[in-house]
């Protein structure tokens, strides 16, 4: 089979062609998305230690112990940070490049726009992505660097969290971000399978439901902490 | 003028084989020096263009649609016949040949039909290899069904979209050759004239339907695969763009037009709903397997069908044809419907319709089984009419569906103009006076895949390649003529739209040269068509200019040719003083009202030769001989 594209394509390596194609970029988006999703699972598991209170001897919060332990392994922490940073960068790069391609693909907009079966989540991907990105920056400044925190104490994760979420406005911002994350994850997780080429008449609908459940559970898990703080379940 | 069909000698089953061996071959290195112009990209055109390009010829292909994939072959529903005998039910090449000659009411050439039956088996193989998803059995082998009253199951199908799948197969083969640079494709390009130099077809003049540019292309042979002319009736099951212009222009340049009056009327179409009707939609005739056809016994009975008791209904097909009942052939069923409507017993708006009732079938088989068999057809019917056929009987009426006539060609599919080949529905060749169901797809692909690649090569081997260019005087003359005609049409600023003329023409041809014809009606029709044509050239209104997309101009050009063709159809019908297949002359029928053939006087193909605008065409006869299938009278009592 000779093709019209073979000539130009042949000059480039398979990898370059892969990254140039929309399908290749979508695969990058799916894979980096899944890396970040994996991180979120670990992050949530750690966060839920907020509910574990103090250790058996009552000398320290389990949360703080866990944080200290993590930071005693700089290779792991920095390794994770590098991987995450790269994932975020690639995810954003792909999103921006694909979005610009699609606006080039439809230079004249429709007068009447109407969707038939697209979910709210799927239509919200772009905006959710922006919100989540902004949130990550804020979140890092808030709890990691501390400059956006009104009462930041290095090393005292538990106290920082309780103090931070005691401010309803901060908790509200986190809530908005988590709803965005939930929608983004729902469509993202479901799309991961389609983009990576998995489909099945029986399992695809179940994947869809599964993605919904996981997205809601994850967001609810994260949100449970500010809610618990505001409700006084978790307190200093 | 003497017509030579160039039928090879020898026993019928050896003719094609020995002919192929006798044909000259073009040296492989020389093939690319030859240019072939293929006009039309339906089954015949796409398959021919792809196959010729594969052989190494330089091919230029043309279609008026926006892509070769849109050609009207795509709309064929039922299936394609092939004498594979996969069902072990007694089919054979000879039987398919026999059925086709008999089905054509003994007005087709035996040798052509035999070759068609031979090629049918290769077509299936070719299409399967291309990836056509034919229906299959659970064991993985190809499924068949019996179709159109055939006694054997020899029809291959892909759901109700066989034409689409076969065309997509041919289209993909064509696109492959375009991608390889071996076919130069010109879509949205309409042929407006054929260039004949010293009696030999050497090129075409076209109009680019986007830019309006009039352009010429020259080659060493011209192949017209431009389909049938059913749209002369305005209302037909053809696509809106189907037209006769290509073959009519060729006819006016010397090619003989054969059997123009042989048109096929399909009995199960959705009736006209109003004056705005733009086309008719066919429903598979398989509906007649379980549906019962009836009309009220009394004329003018306006009761709704569920209010009409059994005793007041006339199941006229079952009454007139007790042994075949609702399954009589297409032409018989169509004429019977016309007869009851003429008596004033038709149903629905305008009284042009008969009931096709599934109440009994639903009672006998259950609604589920009926839905399984005809669900998609019922859905289509409901979409168009807004009526639910599970509850209310369908209304059907016959509609023009296929034209057996076309340009006269010899055994090599070449017209009497050397270098001008004609394939598919555009030629007259294989169906005689009536076409059997599931045979049109077979003929188109047989012509394109398995006949033209040989016979065209044989012709090209005898000519010197590339001997004229687009600066040749004959080309310039043709271009000027086309430009003149276009200008004349654009200057028409009368009171009537082109469509209104087309509708009126269609009505005349439908009334007088449709399902039943008679001398008086035909003579009157010829006069009326001529008058209407004159009116057109003064009173039509064509908007826009020539150098842009101008659909009114396109329509005007096509309608102008339909006037002339319509007149010729009436002349042909008038001259054929017998009834055969799709041609029914009321004067020539048996006492029971069936078609009466006259083999003694009319066992020939009528080929009409263009003379001039001032005088009618002359008739040239090609006698038909039947050495293998002896003519008998059809009977469905």
């Amino acid at each position: 089979m000779q093709t019209a594209t073979a000539g130009q394509g042949a000059a480039r390596t398979p990898l370059a062609r892969f990254f140039a194609s929309t399908l290749g970029r979508k695969a990058v988006m799916a894979l980096t998305g899944v890396v970040m999703f994996g991180f979120l699972l670990g992050h949530l598991a750690g966060n839920l230690l907020m509910f574990a209170g103090k250790n058996a001897t009552g000398t320290a919060y389990r949360m703080d112990e866990y944080a200290a332990q993590l930071h005693s392994m700089p290779a792991l922490v920095w390794g994770t940070r590098v991987v995450l940073l790269l994932s975020v960068a690639a995810h954003v790069w792909v999103a921006v490049s694909l979005a610009s391609m699609s606006s080039a693909a439809r230079p004249v907009a429709y007068k009447v726009v109407k969707t038939q079966q697209a979910t709210l989540a799927s239509k919200f991907m772009k905006y959710g992505g922006f919100l989540i990105f902004a949130f990550i920056v804020y979140h890092l400044l808030h709890f990691t660097v501390g400059v956006a925190h009104h009462d930041f104490k290095p090393g005292q994760v538990y106290a920082n969290v309780v103090a931070g979420f005691s401010q309803p406005a901060v908790s509200g911002a986190y809530a908005v971000a988590m709803v965005s994350l939930c929608l983004h994850l729902y469509h993202g997780l479901y799309s991961f399978f389609l983009t990576m080429g998995f489909n099945h008449p029986t399992y695809t609908p179940r994947i869809r439901t599964g993605a919904q459940v996981v997205a809601v559970a994850l967001a609810a898990g994260f949100l449970s902490i500010p809610v618990a703080v505001l409700a006084g379940v978790i307190k200093a | 003028m003497q017509l030579d069909a160039r039928i090879p000698a020898g026993p019928i089953e050896k003719k094609w084989e020995s002919h192929r061996f006798g044909m000259k071959l073009v040296n492989p290195a020389n093939k690319r020096k030859y240019t072939v112009l293929v006009v039309g990209t339906g089954l015949a055109g796409a398959s021919a263009a792809a196959s010729l390009a594969e052989l190494g010829y330089n091919v230029k292909a043309f279609c008026f649609q926006d892509s070769p994939r849109r050609a009207h072959s795509i709309a064929a529903q039922g299936g394609i016949n092939a004498a594979k005998n996969y069902q072990n039910d007694g089919d054979s090449i000879y039987r398919l040949f026999y059925d086709t000659v008999k089905g054509g009411d003994y007005r087709a050439r035996e040798a052509n039909v035999y070759r068609l039956a031979e090629n049918s088996v290769n077509i299936i193989d070719q299409c399967v290899a291309q990836g056509v998803p034919f229906a299959r059995e659970y064991g993985g082998v190809l499924a068949n069904r019996s179709f159109g009253g055939a006694q054997v199951s020899r029809t291959f199908y892909a759901r109700g979209q066989t034409g689409q799948q076969l065309l997509i197969g041919a289209y993909q083969g064509l696109e492959r050759q375009i991608g390889l640079g071996k076919v130069e494709m010109h879509a949205r390009t309409e042929l407006l004239d054929v260039v004949v130099v010293d009696g030999v077809a050497r090129g075409i003049v076209t109009r680019n339907l986007v830019s309006g540019k009039i352009e010429s292309f020259v080659g060493d042979a011209v192949v017209l695969c431009t389909g049938g002319y059913g749209n002369v009736f305005f209302l037909s099951t053809n696509a809106k763009g189907c037209n006769t212009t290509a073959i009519w222009r060729a006819h006016k340049k010397g090619a003989l037009f054969a059997n123009p009056c042989y048109t096929q009327i399909h009995p199960t179409c959705i009736p006209v709903s109003g004056d705005y009707q733009s086309k008719l939609t066919l429903m598979s005739e398989s509906l007649r397997n379980d549906g019962r056809v009836w009309v009220p016994k009394a004329g003018g009975d306006k009761r709704s069908p569920d209010q009409i008791p059994e005793g007041d209904r006339d199941y006229y097909l079952e009454r007139r044809y007790p042994s075949f009942g609702n399954l009589v052939p297409r032409d018989v069923a169509s004429r019977a419907a016309k007869a009851v409507c003429d008596e004033g017993r038709g149903v629905g708006p305008g009284g042009l319709g008969v009931y096709l009732d599934f109440a009994d079938a639903i009672k006998r088989l259950g609604a589920n089984t009926v839905a399984e068999r005809y669900g998609n057809l019922f859905q289509m019917y409901e979409r168009i009419t807004g009526e639910n056929p599970y509850k209310v009987p369908m209304r059907i009426y016959p509609a023009v569906h296929y034209t057996m006539g076309g340009l006269w060609v010899d055994y090599n599919l070449m017209s009497n103009v050397p270098g001008l080949f004609v394939a598919g529905e555009a030629n007259f060749s294989d169906h005689g006076a009536n076409r059997l169901g599931a045979s049109a797809l077979m003929q188109g692909l047989s012509d394109g895949y398995f006949i033209l690649p040989y016979t065209l090569g044989n012709y090209l081997a005898g000519v010197k390649p590339g001997s004229i260019d687009t600066q040749h005087a004959a080309v310039k003359d043709a271009e000027a003529e086309v430009g003149e005609r276009t200008k004349k049409m654009l200057s028409l600023k009368g009171k009537r739209t082109v469509d209104s003329f087309h509708r009126e023409l269609g009505k005349i041809i439908w009334d007088e040269c449709g399902m039943a014809r008679n001398r008086k009606g035909l003579e009157g029709a010829i006069e009326r068509v001529r008058t209407l044509r004159d009116q057109f050239w003064t009173d039509a209104h064509v908007t826009g200019s020539g150098d842009e997309v101008n659909k009114e101009l396109e329509k005007a050009g096509r309608v102008a040719d339909f006037f002339e063709l319509g007149e010729l159809m009436c002349r042909d019908a008038l001259a054929r003083e017998e009834s055969a297949g799709g041609h029914f002359r009321e004067e020539y029928q048996t006492p029971e009202g069936e078609a009466q053939r006259d083999d003694e006087n009319f066992c020939y193909t009528s080929a009409w030769q263009w003379k001039s605008d001032a005088e009618p065409q002359g008739l040239v006869k090609e006698p038909l001989t039947f050495d293998y299938v002896k003519p008998t009278q059809r009977s469905y009592k």
């Binding site: 089979m1 594209t5 073979a6 000539g7 394509g9 990898l15 194609s21 979508k26 694909l98 391609m101 699609s102 693909a105 439809r106 429709y110 109407k114 969707t115 038939q116 697209a118 799927s122 991907m125 469509h187 799309s191 389609l194 990576m196 080429g197 998995f198 | 926006d66 892509s67 070769p68 994939r69 009207h72 709309a75 299936i124 193989d125 291309q130 990836g131 998803p133 034919f134 299959r136 059995e137 993985g140 082998v141 689409q164 993909q172 083969g173 696109e175 375009i178 809106k240 709903s273 705005y276 009707q277 733009s278 086309k279 807004g386 600023k493 209104h541 908007t543 842009e548 997309v549 659909k551």
Partner: protein, 256 residues
């Protein structure tokens, strides 16, 4: 029934377009949508005005030539139906309809509602075929094909190439069209030898034509008059990912 139409009028690809309002006082509910436009055009021609150009041919929903966007939905509100098969009874008296062409840079407007879809042909040229010469086929039954595979191939092969999927997609992606062909041929044993090359080549051609990416919204599936499932897009992704790195350098090109 009485309708108000806002029709996109654009003289040619270079000209600016705009909506023009037409009053349609006497539409019948038994008309097809295209017949309604025919009536509009007859009226325009009678007044010496330029009729609305729209593509159409078979008018039975199979040729794929017709199509435009009606109130934001390609081919209009009835699912699984082309514009030519859409009947006016799906609308109400007094409705206001906005009629626009397919909007995509890969489908430039030729005039009014008529667009150039030759990009689809070029995607097919890139590999939407099985390379088999006429005459070189084995017997049709020599290769048994599972009925399920054949039926699924047919589901995809039904595509009529109308372009509604592109029109419906917020990214103007041609994924459903391309995937339907890759799926049709890739599901059949005859299509296996070229499966990898086909997927990669067709996807690259689709990108080169300027179509956008797929974001799994499913709008294409909803607009498709043949209701082709986006399952096939996942299949295309699979074939593409499998093929992207399995291809050998161009030196190994197979001469046709």
């Amino acid at each position: 029934m009485r309708l108000t139409l806002h029709v996109w009028r654009q003289r040619n690809g270079r000209a600016e377009g705009q909506f023009v309002k037409y009053d349609m006082p006497n539409a019948s509910e038994d008309m097809s949508f295209l017949e309604m436009l025919d009536v509009l055009n007859e009226g325009l021609v009678a007044q010496g005005q330029d009729p609305v150009a729209f593509d159409h041919d078979c008018r039975e929903g199979i040729c794929g030539m017709c199509g435009f966007v009606i109130n934001g939905v390609p081919h209009g509100p009835e699912r699984g139906t082309t514009a030519c098969q859409l009947h006016m009874r799906k609308f109400k008296d007094g409705d206001e309809l906005w009629i626009e062409p397919w909007r995509a840079s890969a489908f430039p407007v030729l005039k009014d509602l008529s667009v150039n879809r030759s990009a689809f042909d070029r995607i097919i040229q890139a590999g939407g075929f099985i390379s088999v010469h006429t005459g070189s086929a084995p017997d049709g039954n020599a290769l048994p094909i599972a009925k399920e595979a054949s039926d699924r191939a047919m589901d995809a092969a039904q595509c009529i190439g109308c372009g509604a999927c592109v029109a419906a997609c917020p990214n103007a992606s041609a994924s459903l069209f391309t995937a339907a062909k890759i799926g049709h041929l890739g599901l059949l044993p005859q299509g296996q030898p070229e499966r990898d090359r086909r997927a990669v080549s067709m996807v690259e051609r689709m990108n080169a034509e300027g179509f956008g990416h797929c974001s799994n919204l499913g709008e294409c599936e909803a607009a498709c008059p043949k209701e082709i499932s986006i399952e096939f897009i996942a299949r295309m992704n699979r074939d593409y990912l499998g093929g992207a790195f399995s291809q050998r350098p161009a030196g190994a090109r197979i001469e046709d």
